[in-house]
Structure formats: structure tokens, C-alpha cells
Symmetry: C2
Subunit: 404 residues, 2 copies
């Protein structure tokens, strides 16, 4: 099993092998196990940026707004929705940071449930999600109900159910845990939230591009997620917002800007919501960043999410096998679900010295993320991680631990 030749064989038989060559991989021997934090640069991206910068901006100038720029948030959004979110057209827009998108969506949800004063989330939810909810709770006089659960799994439906009630306005959770990679039961939790009269907001940052999503079928009300992880959109790439069609006429986000208004260029008095998902926009679309995001999304669409998911399961299982065989005797354990059905595309490795081990591993040419208090997060982005990368990365970690 732990034979490097086997990893080489697995890579040779990888149906997504050709897609690996669609990304820039520097000839520096780096082992990159962090594509779940910042995805690699697609080879197409520089040319796509040159088209937008040098031709569209440089030559077409202000005319670019009439020649497609204005619709970029929703045209790219629809492409992402159809190919990766399980969302019919007209429900997705890309703009603003993930944090700002989460704020707008959560605020809209609270405003749509007047009289209800509780927001349900998970004490282990991603920091920016927690902070946004704390701010809104403080501002709107709401209370956060924190679900405490095993850090290796997210809240189960019955844990959510136990805290739902007639005061619950919103259930806001991450579909895939940024720490354990555990996949939550989005459909069932959403059903339970609806039964209690609450709305749901799902953060898909660690899910999109890694696992198939079915937002429409799951009954999800609101979702957001970032495009710089598995979607390879570039550092700080803009995020997407999903608002279920049936809510678009009634939900109102708080950052009223000219781009979310009906007929923005009339510049008329009084904000009137634009049609459909456009009402969720605020400021001028970030055209350069959107072009890079689109290039990243398009490579993932080309690969197809089912093939990506198959490889993701094989890669994460391979990593878990190596941890069990090599690293468990050296004090490591697996902090992610062993059941592939509820595991996203990263593997959390638990070690008491993770905080110091992670930079030392980087010194050995292996990049992964440290997450407090004791996790090394191995991000196995399926398009850009080879089985030999997993093998070599964990082998270097083994050598490092053996030298202790």
C-alpha cells in the first residue's frame, strides 16, 4: 500500500489526469496540500485576464459595461449554479467577499422573520460566519443558539432539531466543516428548520467544487460560498450568493446600492429592488476578479463534479490509509470522518504539536494548513492533487516525526 509505485500507478489511471495539466505547477518540488485554502492558478486565467484587461478595459473602456460586464455577476452565477450548485437559472450572483455575502443573506433572513429572535449555528462554524452572525444578533436584538458538538463531526439533524422552536429565525451552518471536512445533512436539517418556520443559510465554501450540490432539491433558502478554494478563482476572489427563487420577491438585503436597484442608470430617487437575484447586488461588479473566477469555475465545470467527487474520495481514503499505517504509531490520528459518504475533500490530521509541526512541514516543502488547536489540514483538491503528492507529503511528515 505505502509503496510509491502504487501512487504512481493510481495517478496514471486517474481519468482526471489531463485536467492536472490545465493548472500552473512550478518546477520547485513543492508539495501543495492546501488547494482547499487557495486553489492553484489555471493555465487559462492569465489569457482570460489579458482579454478583459488589455482588450476590454484597454480598448472598449466604458463600453464594456454594455458589452457584458454588467451581467457578469449573474451570467457566471448561472453557469456555476447549473454546473455545480444544483440551482436553476436566476438564483445565483457572484460579487463581494464571502463575509459580505453572508452578512447580506443573514440580514435578509432575519428581516423576513420578524418577531423571531434566535439564530442557530454551530460553535465550530467557520470564524467569519460566526462573527457575521454575532454582529447581526447584536444589531437586531437576536440571540445566537450555539450547538456544541464533537469537533470531528458537525451538528447532526437531531442536535439541530433539539434547539429549533417558534423563536428560531435562521439556521446558519457550513455544509462541509472547515476543520473536520464532515458533510452535514443539509437536506434533512433544512426540512427540520422549515418545519419550525425558520430559514436556512448554508455556507458552501468547503463544499462547492468538491462535492455535488443540490441546493434546489435540498430546499435550501440561502447559500453563499467562496470561489478561491476548489474553484481556483484566485486570492480573495468574489463569492457567490444563492437566493431561492420563491424568496426573491420578499427577501431584502440591507446594502442597498445602485447595482441592486431597478434601472440603476436612471439614478432616480428611492431604492426599488431590481428584478430577481439582481436585488442582492450592491456596488459595481469587480470585473477583473470576476474574469479570474470564471476561468477557475470553467475548469471545474469541464472536469465535471461526479468525476471530481470520485477522485476526492479515493484521494482522501488514500491519505487516511497512510495516516493509519505510517503516522498513527507516531502520535497522529485522523480527525475527519472515515465514512467517505460524509467526508469532503480534505483530511484533518490530529497531533498535539500541530501548531509547530505545520511550519516545520512547510520547511520540508509540504504546504498544509494549521487549524487550532491541534489539526493539520491536508487539502486534497481533486484536480490539482496527485496520489504521489499525498504519498510524498505524508512520507516527509513521517520522517519529521521520526526525527523527534
Amino acid at each position: 500500500m505505502a509503496d510509491r509505485d502504487e501512487a504512481v500507478t493510481l495517478d496514471a489511471g486517474d481519468p482526471l489526469r489531463a485536467l492536472y495539466d490545465r493548472f500552473v505547477v512550478a518546477d520547485d518540488g513543492l508539495i501543495y496540500l492546501d488547494g482547499n485554502s487557495l486553489g492553484r492558478l489555471p493555465r487559462d486565467t492569465p489569457a482570460r485576464l489579458t482579454e478583459v484587461v488589455s482588450r476590454q478595459w484597454g480598448e472598449r473602456l466604458i463600453r464594456g459595461w454594455g458589452e457584458g460586464w454588467m451581467r457578469l455577476p449573474t451570467t457566471i452565477g448561472d453557469r456555476l449554479g447549473a454546473g455545480l450548485l444544483g440551482a436553476a437559472a436566476g438564483q445565483v450572483a457572484i460579487a463581494d467577499s464571502t463575509t459580505v455575502c453572508l452578512y447580506k443573506l443573514a440580514a435578509a433572513a432575519l428581516a423576513a422573520r420578524p418577531g423571531r429572535t434566535e439564530i442557530v449555528t454551530d460553535a465550530d462554524n467557520f470564524p467569519t460566519d460566526r462573527y457575521v452572525l454575532e454582529s447581526l444578533a447584536r444589531e437586531r436584538g437576536c440571540e445566537i443558539v450555539w450547538i456544541e458538538c464533537d469537533p470531528q463531526s458537525g451538528p447532526a439533524p437531531e442536535q439541530v432539531c433539539a434547539v429549533l422552536g417558534e423563536r428560531t429565525a435562521l439556521v446558519a451552518l457550513s455544509h462541509v466543516s472547515y476543520r473536520s471536512a464532515c458533510i452535514l445533512e443539509q437536506r434533512e436539517i433544512t426540512r427540520l428548520a422549515h418545519r419550525a418556520g425558520a430559514l436556512t443559510l448554508w455556507d458552501e465554501s468547503h463544499a462547492v467544487g468538491a462535492i455535488p450540490l443540490t441546493l434546489d432539491d435540498d430546499g435550501v433558502d440561502l447559500a453563499a460560498g467562496c470561489t478561491y478554494k476548489y474553484l481556483n478563482g484566485g486570492p480573495g476572489a468574489p463569492a457567490f450568493m444563492y437566493v431561492r427563487a420563491e424568496h426573491q420577491a420578499t427577501l431584502r438585503q440591507p446594502i442597498w446600492g445602485w447595482l441592486g436597484r431597478a434601472q440603476p442608470f436612471e439614478m432616480a430617487p428611492g431604492w426599488v429592488p431590481g428584478e430577481g437575484i439582481a436585488a442582492m447586488l450592491s456596488g459595481t461588479p469587480p470585473v477583473l476578479a470576476l474574469a479570474a473566477a470564471a476561468a477557475g469555475i470553467d475548469v471545474v465545470l469541464e472536469a465535471g463534479i461526479d468525476a471530481i467527487r470520485r477522485k476526492s474520495i479515493e484521494l482522501t481514503q488514500y491519505a487516511i490509509d497512510l495516516i493509519d499505517e505510517w503516522l498513527a504509531p507516531l502520535g497522529c490520528s485522523v480527525g475527519s470522518p472515515r465514512d467517505a459518504a460524509i467526508r469532503g475533500s480534505h483530511v484533518a490530521l490530529v497531533h498535539p504539536d500541530a501548531r509547530t509541526l505545520c511550519p516545520r512541514l512547510a520547511g520540508e516543502g509540504v504546504l498544509a494548513d494549521f487549524r487550532t488547536p491541534d489539526l493539520i489540514r491536508l487539502g486534497l483538491s481533486p484536480l490539482t492533487t496527485r496520489f504521489v503528492d499525498v504519498h510524498d507529503g505524508l512520507e516527509r511528515l513521517r520522517e519529521l516525526l521520526r526525527r523527534e
Copy 2:
């Protein structure tokens, strides 16, 4: 005066002539009088983007965050502050759209003046500013006091003074009117607002890079502005926020995200404000867009704002002279201040058929902006507009009007 040779001579003597060559100008004969809406592409920008995209993202990957990306909002902010805003270090950050920045700043101001329920603004303020204030007023139970004034000028200090009182929480105005280009008396209005116990929020979008700014000296509390107009940062480039140092410990913006928190990578429970201006940040910095914004800002810094202002006054005066001589007999009038001391870098031309004239002018190869109900806005961005552009653009408009 209206001799093309004179325009050629003026260009030949322009001390900023060399800077013109630092921008991409396509060989298509286009006359671009819209650099106040979207600035031209600096020649340096593609190489700066290549450095960030292909080398930093492509090769350094996640390490980029430790190698400068994380500080981009404030390092570029400080450069902008020192060179163009009259702001000492530590008070400026670049991130998010102008709309989102205005929202964060206005919300912070209202929270800092509890018990006060009025927001003073101008009925002719830029749409996104008005909409943001309307949203916040509705959300926080405030009322907007709309100053009505001559559309060719913004509110004078005495008009602002007349509506200030113990209920005033915030005075939010544009320093330079997006319609008339009138420069408001920022320092005096700020002084009056302070005397009434209110805070001020200035939108510098049509001022920055066109006129010298002295935010520190003017006593300004809060300011925001976009980087894609006179700063040539690219379509939808991120905006800047200024928060006066003395307010940073107490003012709290509402979009609490991980990047505004102290020690973001601890990912600890509970939002705690980061130090200084960092507390105004929310999500992950948009690195690609920031690199383009920096390239645009740097060309303006190189030119120097005093030289830019001198040329701006000459260009706008030249345009006004041509309008008076050629176009006044054809039904046009000047909708901008004739006093250069209170005129920004665009000239509003008034004509009853402006709405149809503007696209017809575009058909003749002259790009300007239509603004309701009857303005053609001639944007004379000093670095990228030549006197011959003004001459030829207005000559084509004259021909068009003569054919009526």
C-alpha cells in the same frame, strides 16, 4: 481660441504630457471623455497583474498571504492616504465596493451617535450614497433630511447649517458632485457638523486624483471613494475607506468578518476588533483587484496632485470656453461652476435632448456620459485627456447639433 493648432500647442506645452504615454490608448481614433467614470488602463497594469497572478499566486500560492497580500489593503491605503488624501498613515484601507464601504462607515457613524435620529444629505447626492443611507435609516429608525439645492451646485454650508441640530447623527455628502462637478466646502461643513455634535462621511469618488484632498486638516471623520475613476484602477476596482485615527478605538462597523478581527488566524470565539483601521475590514482582500488598483494609484502619485489639478483647471476652462463659443448658440449651456476654485475635473453640458444626443455622439466616436435629465458629462481626466481631445470632441458635437 477655437483653433485646433492652439489645442496642439497646449498639449505640446503640457508638463504632464509624458504621463499620457503611460496609458494604453488604442489606435482607433476614439475620443474618450469618460475617464471620470472609468479611467484608462495604465501600461504598467498588465505586468503588475502578471507578477501577482503568475508569480505570486502561481508559484507562491498560499504563502502569498504571509508575503504581503494580507497587508495590501493598508499598505496601498497608506500610499493613497499620504499622496492623495492628506491622511497620515494608519487611517486608510482599500477593500470592498464603494457601496459596501459607504454602508460600513455610515452604519458605524450612526451607532456612535445613539439617540440621534437624523441623517443629513443632498437630494442630488450620488445614487448609491442615497440608497445606502435610505436603507440604514429604515433599519435603524432614522430619518433622512434631504437638502434641496440648485443642481448646478451642491449644498452650501449655510444650507447644511440650517438643518443641523441635536438630532443630527451624520452629515453624508459628496465632496465633488457627480453631476455638476461642484466642489463642496468640506472643511466648513465638517466644522458645522461637529459644532452640532454630528459626524461627517464624505464620498471622495469624484474628487480623489482630481483635486488635492486634506482629510486630516479638514477634520473629516469618515470618507470613502472609488479607485476606478481618476485613479485608473480598473472596472469595479475596490474602494477606499478613511477613518480618522481618533475614532478608530470607538467606531464599530457592522460587517464583522475574520479579516477585521484581532489575530484572525486564531479563529477564536467572539469577534474582537483588530487594531486601528484593520477593524474596518471584513472578508479576504481581493488581491488581483488590489494589484490593479495599486498600479493605477501609482501613476497618479508619480504625476503629483498639484500638477494634475493645474491641468484639470486648464482643461475644464478650455471646454467651457468652447461650449460658450460653439455650443451655446446651438442650445447648450454650462452646468458646472464657472469658478475654477469650486470645479472638479468634469464639465456638465446641459441640453434638453442630452439623452438622445449622448449615444449619437458615441456614434461619432466621442464617449461621454449621459446623466438624467439633461446633462452630458464631459470627463476630463487630466492624465489621459489632451486639449485636442476636448477640441475634437466638442467639434463633433457642434457638427451633430448643426445637422439637426
